[in-house]
């Protein structure tokens, strides 16, 4: 079995183990209602994780994802107030807003040659700032506005418990899985993340792929924002807060190599589902947000460390197997 498959089994195993623990210790875990809720909650992180996965696999990082979600939330709310605009158009506008943010990131990174870390750290503040400035205000104070565009709000509905955001998430995950594993774009993204120099030597167009990655990530953030706003029928200043870290964590836990070059959509989805399970499960035990954060931190450190050890064990080229003629033991030659 290849190392990728082993890693996948571990991700799935984690989800099952946690699910079993919850099932055995609480009565309310393994119910249709709960599972559907879980899927809805994971879809929000999950959509952003799909975009984040693309950026991370390409060797980058997008710390502005949370900012994009926040700004897109405002854009979405504003768009929904335009008289007569259909719900689908609101969603498309929000996605475009997200993609535009991504385009900005991509252009700065590729044309000004700034590091992705710094660029997106800064642009995250810019997007959040823009969101605060453009939000609805009365007397200079932001106020929550109840959205009234019913066509748009219907995107927050569910079919007997199965939310539209879940359906969208799963459909896009399948699409991204194909894009990442079966298209040139996906292949080149992996190649860039694994070994930029070699990829360039093979004729991979770095700038295009980088920009496309950031734009896709922004678009996913926009879509996630639109779906959540539709569900909540309102947007808040804290929408998207810390979501970039949620998404990065989900990718790492799911098995996407944080330094790039390896991973797929399924990994991002498993990671997002696992992280959401941790949160919701701890809520059931009545534990505070503080404990959630501790758990997140612990899970990430454990998984990254595990991956580091794991790659050392399976990287055939670097680990030399024990030689036939073993050298004498240290103790035998000491004076």
């Amino acid at each position: 079995m290849s190392s990728t498959n082993i890693r996948r089994c571990i991700s799935i195993g984690l989800v099952i183990a946690l699910g079993l623990t919850y099932t055995l210790t609480t009565d309310s875990f393994l119910t249709t209602f709960n599972i559907l809720q879980l899927l809805k909650d994971s879809a929000y992180t999950g959509l952003i994780s799909l975009g984040m996965a693309l950026v991370i696999i390409g060797g980058g990082i997008d710390l502005s994802a949370g900012g994009i979600v926040c700004l897109c939330g405002v854009a979405c709310a504003r768009a929904s107030f335009i008289p007569g605009v259909p719900g689908i158009a609101v969603i498309l506008i929000t996605i475009l807003a997200g993609a535009a943010c991504g385009l900005f990131n991509g252009l700065v990174v590729t044309k000004l040659h700034l590091s992705e870390f710094v660029t997106t750290l800064a642009s995250g503040f810019v997007f959040s700032g823009l969101a605060l400035i453009t939000t609805f205000k009365t007397d200079g104070r932001p106020v929550p506005m109840k959205l009234t565009n019913l066509d748009f709000i219907s995107f927050g509905y569910n079919y007997s418990g199965l939310y539209k955001i879940t359906i969208v998430w799963i459909a896009l995950a399948v699409l991204m899985q194909v894009v990442l594993t079966r298209t040139r774009f996906g292949l080149y993204t992996c190649a860039l993340g694994a070994n930029e120099k070699s990829a360039l030597m093979s004729g991979v167009k770095k700038d295009r792929i980088k920009i496309a990655g950031f734009m896709a990530c922004g678009a996913f953030c926009g879509l996630a924002a639109a779906m959540v706003v539709a569900f909540q029928t309102a947007t808040t200043q804290t929408l998207g807060n810390m979501m970039e870290f949620q998404a990065i964590s989900a990718c790492v836990v799911g098995g996407i190599v944080i330094t790039g070059g390896k991973g797929d959509a399924l990994a991002a989805c498993l990671g997002a589902f696992f992280m959401t399970m941790v949160t919701s499960g701890l809520l059931k035990y009545g534990l505070s947000t503080g404990v959630h954060y501790l758990m997140y931190g612990a899970v990430i450190v454990i998984m990254i460390n595990f991956d580091a050890q794991f790659s050392r064990l399976t990287d055939g080229g670097r680990v030399r197997k024990t030689k036939k003629n073993e050298p004498p033991r240290l103790s035998e030659v000491q004076p």
Binding site: A191, A194, G261, E332
Partner: protein
């Protein structure tokens, strides 16, 4: 000289190349037949790499013509070379580790249908190619799971898929273990059987014996001779490589060996590179360590210093074991001038003063606070003493010339009371004037009673500066030379051939 002929995959005539007015290649020619493994040998600086770079379009030639299968070809870029069917397998491999063998081989030239890659078809085509040469590789394996030799095979397959007629391998075994090298040779045999031509550049005679059909020897930018397989022998080849030679006089008439400082290494094993290395070095002597690149010289030095952890064996200074901690060894009087100056020798962005003082803060600082006045005097002393130019302690070290950078690295150690100084290729990239100065400081240090151990690939340097030379071959010390010694002998011993002058170990 053979005529220009379509039977030859590559023919090169009258190539000249100068760098800044210095001729590097002088009227060089080369003939590679179809289906032969042609070796190219020569000392460092003989012009092998330059020739390869011209043939592959990295450099442009000043004069001469390149013929591919009898037709003159204008090769000005890598793409031109690839179009002409010339491929290079680089020393640092250019594969994407996280992709599969087939994905790597088709990278940049995928076959697609409806924008989806035709995975199965590409795998099949790679499998066919593998089958044609009977290599042992799974097209679906992830490259990260392959050994180094297999990765090279993948590189070769990549070249073959692009219809390479000539595959150039530049020191391909330098990153391979002995078993992996043997695998590569089998691959080369398969390639030859399949009709491909190979230009094989190597320092190692035994490899050339093993695989080459013919051998071209280069020296000082000229090709000296072409040898057929049956003419290749170690004495002939080394003589051709070195040319006429006078024995170099020793820099120091005699070394005052002292018995109060003795470094002893016993049965050192490290990975599969060092296989039981033992020797003694004495205070007052400059001990040279010779051998081919990859023979384990750097590893030996690093094991002594504590920068690498040997699998087994002992390092003793005056009878007591040397620590595995660099910090402790420094305090005990060890110093290292490493091979990779920029990475390990000094901190590029720090000023000269800080680099000089970097390993001496044990006496330049008190309670964690640096005595800046002392530090400045310390640096100025070193700058004056070792004539570091420009004599400015505040200059970023990276802005100095190679030679002066090396003076900073050396000065950093010489300011301490050293018992053992280890040097790894100390004069690489250093001009001749500064070289002499550096040798002078080494001699001074040895005269003061320290042990100086120097690894060098520069044969004139090794033979003149060292009082005694140990040659490393295949993970063990092979021969010892005392007194005057010729470069040919060192080279022969490095290739595992016993010499008359040397004492077999």
């Amino acid at each position: 000289m053979t005529n220009i002929n379509a039977e030859y995959v590559l023919q090169v005539r009258g190539i000249d190349k100068q760098f800044g007015g210095v001729p590097v290649l002088k009227n060089v020619s080369l003939d590679i037949k179809k289906g032969e493994v042609h070796a190219l040998m020569g000392e460092n600086g003989a012009g092998k790499s330059t020739l390869i770079k011209i043939v592959t379009g990295v450099y442009t030639k000043d004069a001469g013509t390149i013929y591919v299968e009898g037709e003159p070809r204008d090769i000005r870029s890598r793409t031109d070379a690839a179009d002409a069917g010339i491929s290079v397998i680089y020393q640092e491999l250019s594969l994407i580790q996280t992709l599969t063998v087939a994905q790597n081989i088709f990278l940049g030239q995928e076959r697609t249908k409806f924008r989806l890659t035709k995975k199965k078809e590409m795998q099949r085509s790679v499998a066919e190619l593998i089958g044609k040469y009977t290599f042992d590789i799974d097209p679906n394996a992830e490259v990260a799971s392959l050994g180094m030799a297999q990765r090279q095979t993948v590189e070769i397959l990549k070249a073959l898929r692009q219809d390479a007629k000539l595959i150039i391998m530049d020191e391909p075994t330098s990153a391979l273990s002995a078993a992996e090298s043997e695998k590569l040779f089998e691959t080369i045999d398969e390639l030859r059987a399949g009709g491909a031509s190979i230009l094989y550049i190597s320092h190692r005679l035994e490899e050339v014996y093993r695989i080459a059909d013919r051998l071209t020897v280069m020296r000082d930018g000229e090709n000296v001779r072409v040898l057929n397989k049956d003419e290749i022998s170690a004495p002939v080849v080394t003589k051709l490589m070195i040319g006429h030679e006078v024995k170099n006089e020793k820099m120091r008439k005699e070394a005052n060996r002292r018995s109060d400082t003795v470094l002893e290494v016993r049965d050192l094993y490290f990975k599969d590179i060092l296989k039981g290395v033992s020797f003694k070095a004495y205070g007052g002597e400059i001990l040279g360590i010779g051998g081919l690149v990859g023979a384990g010289r750097t590893e030996l030095i690093r094991c002594i210093y504590g920068a690498a952890k040997p699998a087994s064996g002992a390092v003793l200074l005056n009878g007591s074991p040397v620590s595995r901690s660099i910090a402790k060894n420094m305090r005990a009087g060890f110093g290292l001038v490493p091979e990779d100056r920029r990475q390990e020798g000094f901190v590029p962005l720090l000023p000269v003063m800080k680099n000089l003082a970097l390993s001496s803060y044990d006496f330049l600082a008190k309670f964690g606070f640096v005595n800046t006045k002392k530090e400045r005097t310390f640096a100025d002393d070193a700058i004056g003493k070792y004539d570091i130019r420009p004599p400015r302690r505040d200059l970023q070290t990276i802005n100095l010339s190679g030679g002066n950078q090396q003076k900073v690295v050396l000065g950093k150690w010489l300011a301490r009371s050293l018992k053992v100084l280890l040097l790894d290729e100390p004069t690489a990239g250093v001009d001749i004037g500064v070289k002499r100065e550096l040798y002078h400081y080494l001699a001074e240090l040895a005269d003061a009673g320290a042990i100086v151990i120097m690894v060098s690939s520069d044969l004139p340097e090794l033979t003149t500066v060292s009082d005694r030379i140990l040659v490393l071959h295949d993970g063990r010390f092979f021969e010892e030379f005392t007194g005057e010694v010729s470069q040919t002998d060192i080279l022969l011993a490095s290739s595992g051939e016993h010499t008359e002058e040397g004492r077999a170990l």
